[in-house]
């Protein structure tokens, strides 16, 4: 029987064109039907030197289905190279050309001698969502662009974390993570955002190790890099938000990288001291508002659901109700992620469900006894149901309509403070 999926929180794999867009001076070339880029682009933060409205596209139609679209792809790449000044051209294939069997890899290989690198990533919608598409892009970079080197730069760490644009705080979070890594004496390398781009992609291979901060996205990428480029990796599942998790994170990274323990502890002490100074000043507010939200639910991808649940429980002392992971996490990672949700302070454990259907999530929220008003951190879809329950709602996951984020972050010590500010802004507004 046909199934209906209500309010899903991701896009098709071709949505990974935004991952390409996040690499400065990289341009996606779409081998897809007309309109895909328009549909997949997020309104906020996607304009600029290249925007989805000008992404070269083969705009394939019925003729290309019958006769194949490779000629058109060839001319589109050829002309893109002529008229668009970019550093990296990434061909992304949509569903149609992959169904009818266009050999895009073959076409792209004809551009091996082009002045600028042209690579390709199969991102047909039926192969998965844009989280998987994001992995495909990074895979394409590793397989088709990066070259193994024996020259390793001491202390250089590639950081992989959020999925650009899908995650509203992607830019700020990456910068905040870089800063933290820098503070303990390592040299961070990321490829997304301002002034990173191709020069940082070129540095990937000479990194000492890969630091992956994500429950599952990009696990296969770092494994591939280990095999192909000989870069070991540290997979840290929890996005560190707030003092408790960030300190734990720094200790673990420091240990892995062989950083002097004292140096790490000094950084931690300095940050924690300021963090708790802030918390202390607002302790009254937190205590008084405690009655508003005894329990919370996060409706987000695994990255945010896990990171925020740990933060709210460990740092703010809230009690987790059911948590909803909406990114269609591949089955092989689910058990490990479920276990992570049980590793909370104060002997608490959070129940987590992997659910992509917004209707079912809302039914569960409605039917749960939050012992008062719920606090829901989720996508814009969850605003109405939270308001019906007189709860407090904060828009932290896709789709985002309630918030504009330019370079804000929720990662680290400062990120935790930002999130507290946001939550308590919402909470205090109801008294005004």
């Amino acid at each position: 029987m046909a199934k209906l999926l209500d309010k899903q929180r991701y896009k098709c794999a071709l949505g990974a064109m935004q991952t390409v867009q996040a690499i400065e001076r990289a341009i996606p070339i779409l081998h897809s039907g007309p309109g895909c880029a328009q549909k997949l682009s997020d309104g906020n933060g996607s304009s600029g030197y290249f925007s989805p409205n000008i992404f070269p596209c083969t705009s394939i139609n019925e003729k290309d289905v019958v006769f194949g679209g490779v000629k058109k792809l060839h001319s589109t790449i050829d002309n893109a190279l002529k008229v668009i000044d970019a550093d990296l051209y990434v061909v992304l294939t949509g569903c149609i050309p992959e169904i009818v069997g266009d050999d895009s890899g073959e076409v792209v290989s004809e551009f091996a001698d082009a002045e600028k690198p042209v690579i390709y990533a199969p991102t047909a919608g039926f192969k998965g969502n844009n989280y998987k598409g994001h992995e495909q892009i990074i895979d394409a970079i590793i397989d088709q662009y990066a070259k193994k080197t024996d020259k390793k730069e001491k202390g250089l760490v590639n950081i992989w974390a959020d999925v650009p644009y899908q995650d509203l705080y992607w830019l700020g979070n990456l910068r905040a993570l870089e800063k933290l890594i820098e503070e303990i004496g390592l040299t961070p390398n990321t490829i997304f955002g301002y002034q990173r781009g191709i020069k940082n992609i070129d540095k990937i291979a000479s990194a000492e190790f890969n630091l992956l901060i994500s429950p599952w996205v990009s696990v296969k990428n770092v494994k591939k890099m280990e095999k192909k480029l000989g870069i070991p990796y540290l997979h840290y599942s929890t996005l560190p938000i707030g003092a408790f998790e960030t300190s734990k994170f720094l200790r673990e990274v420091g240990k892995f990288a062989g950083v002097d323990e004292k140096k790490v502890e000094d950084v931690i002490t300095q940050h924690e001291s300021y963090y708790y100074y802030l918390i202390e000043r607002f302790a009254d507010l937190f205590l008084e508002n405690r009655v508003i939200n005894k329990q919370f639910s996060v409706v987000a991808d695994a990255q945010y659901a896990l990171g925020i649940t740990k933060f709210l429980t460990n740092d703010l002392g809230l009690v987790p109700a059911k948590q909803f992971v909406t990114d269609d996490t591949p089955k092989e990672y689910r058990e490990a992620i479920t276990e992570e949700f049980k590793k909370l302070n104060y002997g608490l454990e959070a129940e987590v469900v992997f659910e992509t259907d917004g209707y079912k999530i809302h039914e569960e929220i409605k039917n749960h006894d939050y012992h008062g008003y719920p606090l829901v951190l989720g996508g814009y879809y969850d605003k109405e149901v939270t308001e019906d329950l007189k709860g407090n709602f904060l828009n932290i996951s896709w789709p985002v309509k309630d918030k504009i984020v330019l370079n804000d972050a929720i990662v680290g010590y400062e990120g935790g403070i930002r999130l507290i500010e946001d939550i308590y802004t919402v909470a205090s507004q109801r008294f005004n």
């Binding site: 019925e62 003729k63 289905v65 019958v66 006769f67 169904i99 009818v100 069997g101």
Partner: protein, 168 residues
């Protein structure tokens, strides 16, 4: 159920004519994925003319019909002229006393193959493409042999009709 495909070809071997340049179409009858030539349909430019019923699109058909009105049709009616067969001749617009046959020329030609499911030719102009779409005729502008075109198109329709995936 069988259906027809019109092909614009000068030698019944290669798809070598643009829609505008074609003076007639080879009509193939298709059953499943088997096809055979059924007939040749010639497009007569005299038929209808300015006063024909299909001239309604052309409000000023009468005026243009005088033969002067269209002198500058390269601009006025050029839409179709350029589209349909610029490289050969602006056949859409220069028919004898055809007047502003911009869409009209295409329209009458499309009517000639209105019972076909598909049209194969070297090039199709925008006007003609729209007229084909209006009649749900799938237009394919390709340069290949007639056999290649027909085997690919019949294979495609056969899969669509029988709900078979196009996946290769």
């Amino acid at each position: 159920m069988s259906y027809l495909i019109a092909v614009a070809t000068s030698n019944a071997r290669d798809v070598d004519l643009g829609f505008g340049a074609a003076t007639g179409f080879h009509i193939y009858e298709v059953e499943g994925t088997d096809y055979k030539e059924k007939e040749y349909r010639e497009f007569s430019e005299e038929i209808g003319g300015a006063g024909s019923s299909s001239g309604v699109n052309c409000g000023s058909a009468g005026a243009c019909g005088s033969g002067t009105g269209c002198g500058g049709e390269a601009a006025g009616c050029g839409g179709a002229g350029a589209d349909t067969g610029a490289e050969t001749k602006p056949s859409g617009c220069n028919g004898p006393s055809n007047g502003c046959s911009g869409s009209d020329g295409a329209q009458r030609k499309v009517e000639l193959i209105a019972d076909c499911r598909s049209l194969v030719c070297k090039k199709i102009g925008f006007q003609a493409q729209k007229q084909l779409e209006k009649r749900a005729i799938a237009g394919f502008d390709v340069e290949c042999s007639v056999d290649e075109a027909l085997s690919k198109i019949t294979g495609y329709f056969d899969k669509i009709d029988n709900h078979i995936s196009l996946r290769r």
